[in-house]
């Protein structure tokens, strides 16, 4: 019994092992982990990470950060979308850090004071099943989701979670409340399938259960790379533009290791990190000097929707009740 207690004590307690950094991230683990490993190798700093699960299944890493605000456990937050960090910024949980690497990031995708900085991005695209959609008749715009031509043949992920929330909020911010609400209603009327996640949308399209779906570039790229007979369409290329969602890095206030936090942020914004995200995760680099593999575009080569991410963040909170009603909770 004494031995057991000693074991418990030794194993249970955390010793602050000096050279480490704690990062919470909602970037997909498959992509983020190699980046962290690369950072570890270069810097010798040990990375302890908390990942988000499939968007619907977790408390959300953001909520965990808020829950732990009284006693912060994380140094940095690498968000899979540019909007969620605002939830932390609004609550005063973030400190600005203008990284030297941020110079190469376009102004539209960062805060001037270094509160948040964007890096490797995704875009909201239409993934189209070539077997169920004849050439030349593909959907070209996000509004096609409400087009009766596609009744019951489209899919979108649950707008309560993940990048879909951001997308809907961006529509609210961009089209105005009335138009956006009408659009949501039209989606329902048009029998759009609500999937639990973007990955699910991809599965549905690849399996041929729907003709097309709205998903993220990385999911779409994976479908293509997996050999499925699908096509990626960047919607509204000749209209309002495609919604670009850079991943976003913030430094948390009161984190245990501020110095190493800066080092990690510097790396995440670097060309090397963007290259890895492009190669492993089909993320679109924001920097102009990063090589891209086949099928991946640089943000600079896409018509991007003009977006004020702070406004979108506000819209996200505001539309919560309406969204919940719409999706049934």
């Amino acid at each position: 019994m004494v031995v057991l207690l000693a074991l418990l004590a030794a194993h249970g307690c955390r010793q602050r092992a000096g050279h480490e950094v704690v990062v919470y991230t909602s970037v997909d683990q498959v992509f983020a982990e190699p980046v962290f490993r690369a950072f570890e190798e270069r810097s010798g700093i040990h990375v302890r990470a908390v990942f988000d699960t499939e968007e619907t299944k977790s408390t959300g890493v953001v909520n965990r950060l808020i829950a732990e605000a009284g006693q912060p456990q994380a140094d940095a937050f690498w968000s899979g979308d540019p909007v969620r960090p605002f939830l932390l910024i609004q609550r005063g949980l973030v400190v600005p850090y203008p990284s030297p690497e941020a110079a190469a990031i376009p102004a539209a995708f960062k805060a001037a004071d270094g509160m948040w900085t964007g890096t490797a991005a995704r875009a909201r695209v239409l993934l189209v099943n070539r077997d169920r959609v004849a050439a030349g008749t593909e959907p070209r715009s996000i509004r096609d989701l409400a087009d009766p031509r596609w009744k019951g043949r489209a899919a979108i992920a649950n707008p309560l979670f993940g990048t879909t929330t951001m997308h809907v909020a961006a529509l609210f911010a961009s089209w105005g409340d009335a138009d956006a609400t009408a659009f949501l209603r039209a989606l329902k009327a048009n029998g759009v399938r609500i999937a639990s996640s973007n990955g699910e949308v991809k599965r549905l399209v690849v399996a041929g259960e729907v003709s097309f779906g709205v998903t993220d570039t990385d999911d779409a790229h994976e479908a293509v790379a997996g050999g499925a007979h699908v096509e990626v369409v960047y919607p509204d290329a000749d209209g309002a533009g495609t919604l670009v969602m850079p991943t976003s890095v913030v430094v948390l206030k009161g984190g245990p290791n501020p110095a190493t936090a800066h080092a990690l942020v510097d790396y995440l914004l670097s060309a090397d990190a963007e290259r890895r995200m492009a190669e492993n995760g089909a993320h679109m680099p924001l920097r102009r000097d990063v090589p891209v593999p086949d099928g991946v575009r640089r943000v600079g080569d896409v018509r991007a929707m003009a977006v004020d991410y702070a406004r979108v963040a506000a819209a996200m909170e505001a539309i919560q009740p309406a969204l919940r009603e719409w999706s049934g909770l």
């Binding site: 019994m1 057991l4 074991l7 418990l8 194993h11 249970g12 307690c13 955390r14 704690v22 990062v23 919470y24 997909d28 683990q29 498959v30 992509f31 990375v47 302890r48 990470a49 908390v50 990942f51 988000d52 699960t53 499939e54 968007e55 619907t56 299944k57 977790s58 408390t59 959300g60 953001v62 909520n63 965990r64 808020i66 829950a67 732990e68 009284g70 006693q71 456990q73 994380a74 309560l160 979670f161 929330t165 639990s196 996640s197 990955g199 699910e200 399996a207 259960e209 990385d218 999911d219 994976e222 995760g281 996200m316 909170e317 919560q320 009740p321 919940r324 009603e325 049934g328 909770l329």
Partner: protein, 514 residues
């Protein structure tokens, strides 16, 4: 020797306090949070009630499926000469110890277009309420089978034999065995219902909306409002209380007969029914095991297994370590509390009831409570360490250490302990030299049960696992978002392997009958 008088009350109090802290504190913290926050419950009551009701119905359907298959199977395995009984039981029981989410994953691999059972029909049927009921029903059937077997085995053979002189086996089963085994069957129903109701992974995977999933979604949505989440949790706690009361009424401690009971009574010959029944049984077993095969096939089809496994090794170690420590702590504390329970201590009954409540409470609520309680400056050294996983899991599964041991202890003649007391043995000495050696098998079985549940756990630990110290199930879940299916399948196999290893170790320890 007068110093030994304090042993029993102090040790019992310490064990009870520890169990109270891990089981009750999180719930209390959540309640306090709810009370103090001005929670604007921004929810539609009507919709919620609908969702709650539909989830109750779904869980009920799962229970019916599990009992409908498990009770007959249990009787067949317990009392007939079915060929290959032992193997059937082992294979059949195994899926119970694996997170149902993995089973759903396996069914998906089987049912999708290019899967072994692939057809559009199969895939469509899987994703929906019917599929949920089928998958969960199959996953939880072994609980009904095992409890039925224990219930039937515990019946005095003389009763059965007396009946056999006047009626055929089928009638004996219907009119004598099953009614006498009612406490065990009721417990089976309750366990299956509780597990089915609070299950989150499978409904989410199969795109069925359930109440606990909605609560989790509420916690995981944009606005972090634990107070509001707690309000949503209240009906669940209410349900848990109802289940706990029903369970008490149906027998509480009497529901489990001693583990490892010898069944050397003569078995009923099935005669000409032997092969048809055997085939039916083995079909059920096969249905339970099929998802594993699918997952294994998926994993082995890939040539990058090493890549998947190597980074997961720390997770494997975390899982095993945490499970072992949790099981040890819970079994030790549970033994002390079980003794107090059997001696009818009133306080210990309250602690036991709270432990049961913590088990039935949805993990999301418990996890949030754990964070509130332990993430403070004074207790930070626990919160940021793997210890917090032990704390959280011990709170969730304490009841699995207490109940089985209490059931076994209550079947031990009290004079065994009285004689030891009269012979001058102190509490600790009795515990160490009499209770533990006499009930070695039950203690090992209890340890195994807790360890396997700790290994299998996902929803409890996902909310507060320390950065970089994730258990294997968490890793599987976080990777599932976008990991290659082969990698997920490999890790799933690894998880299954860990479970099998733990069970095998336990069975080996239980093995030798004196």
């Amino acid at each position: 020797m007068s110093g030994s008088r304090w042993q029993e009350p102090v040790i019992t109090a310490v064990a009870s306090a520890a169990i109270l802290v891990v089981c009750f504190a999180p719930l209390a913290a959540l309640a306090v949070d709810a009370a103090s926050a001005a929670s604007t419950a921004n929810v539609s009551l009507w919709r919620l009630t609908q969702l709650f009701a539909s989830t109750v119905v779904t869980a009920g359907a799962v229970t019916l499926v599990a009992l409908g298959i498990g009770i007959p199977l249990g009787v067949l395995l317990a009392r007939t000469d079915l060929p290959g009984r032992r193997a059937a039981l082992i294979l059949h029981a195994f899926p119970l110890f694996v997170p149902p989410f993995l089973l759903a994953l396996g069914w998906f691999h089987l049912a999708r277009a290019d899967g072994a059972l692939g057809s559009v029909l199969a895939a469509a049927a899987l994703f929906g309420r019917a599929g949920l009921i089928a998958v969960l029903g199959l996953a939880l059937t072994p609980a009904a089978t095992a409890l039925t077997m224990l219930g039937v085995d515990g019946i005095d053979p003389a009763l059965e034999e007396a009946a056999r002189t006047v009626a055929r086996p089928a009638v004996v089963v219907r009119r004598i065995l099953l009614p006498l085994a009612r406490p065990a069957l009721a417990l089976a129903g309750l366990v299956v219902f509780a597990l089915a109701f609070s299950e989150i992974g499978v409904p989410m995977f199969l795109r069925v909306r359930t109440y606990p999933a909605a609560v989790l979604a509420r916690l995981g949505g944009i606005a972090y409002a634990p107070g509001e989440a707690f309000l949503l949790v209240l009906p669940l706690l209410g349900l848990a209380l109802v289940l706990a009361i029903i369970e008490r009424r149906f027998g509480g401690l009497r529901t489990l007969s001693a583990l490892g009971v010898r069944t050397d009574r003569p078995r009923w010959p099935l005669g000409r029914w032997r092969w048809p029944v055997a085939i039916a049984c083995w079909l059920v077993v096969a249905a339970g095991v099929a998802p594993f095969a699918a997952v294994a096939a998926e994993a082995l089809a890939s040539d990058r297994l090493g890549e998947a496994v190597t980074p997961a090794i720390p997770s494997v170690w975390n899982s095993l370590r945490v499970a072992a420590i949790t099981a040890t702590v819970v079994t030790a504390g549970g033994l002390v509390l079980a003794r107090a329970l059997v001696n009818r201590g009133r306080a210990s009954r309250a602690v036991d009831a709270l432990a049961a409540l913590a088990f039935i409470t949805p993990a999301a609520a418990l996890g949030t409570g754990v964070t509130i309680v332990w993430n403070r400056p004074t207790t930070g050294f626990i919160y940021t360490a793997p210890m917090i996983l032990v704390v959280g899991l011990a709170g969730r599964y304490a009841v699995l250490g207490i109940r089985p041991l209490a059931a076994v202890l209550s079947r031990t003649p009290p004079h065994i302990d009285d004689a030891a007391r009269a012979a001058g043995a102190s509490y600790l000495r009795r515990l160490g030299r009499i209770v533990v050696p006499m009930h070695r098998r039950a203690i090992v079985a209890s340890w195994m049960l807790v360890a396997v549940f700790a290994l299998r756990d996902l929803e409890t630990v996902i909310l507060f696992y320390p950065a970089g110290e994730e258990p294997l199930m968490v890793r599987i879940f976080t990777l599932e978002a976008n990991g290659p299916p082969a990698v997920i399948a490999t890790l799933a196999l690894l998880q299954v392997g860990l479970t099998a290893l733990t069970l095998a170790a336990g069975v080996a320890l239980l093995g030798r009958r004196r």
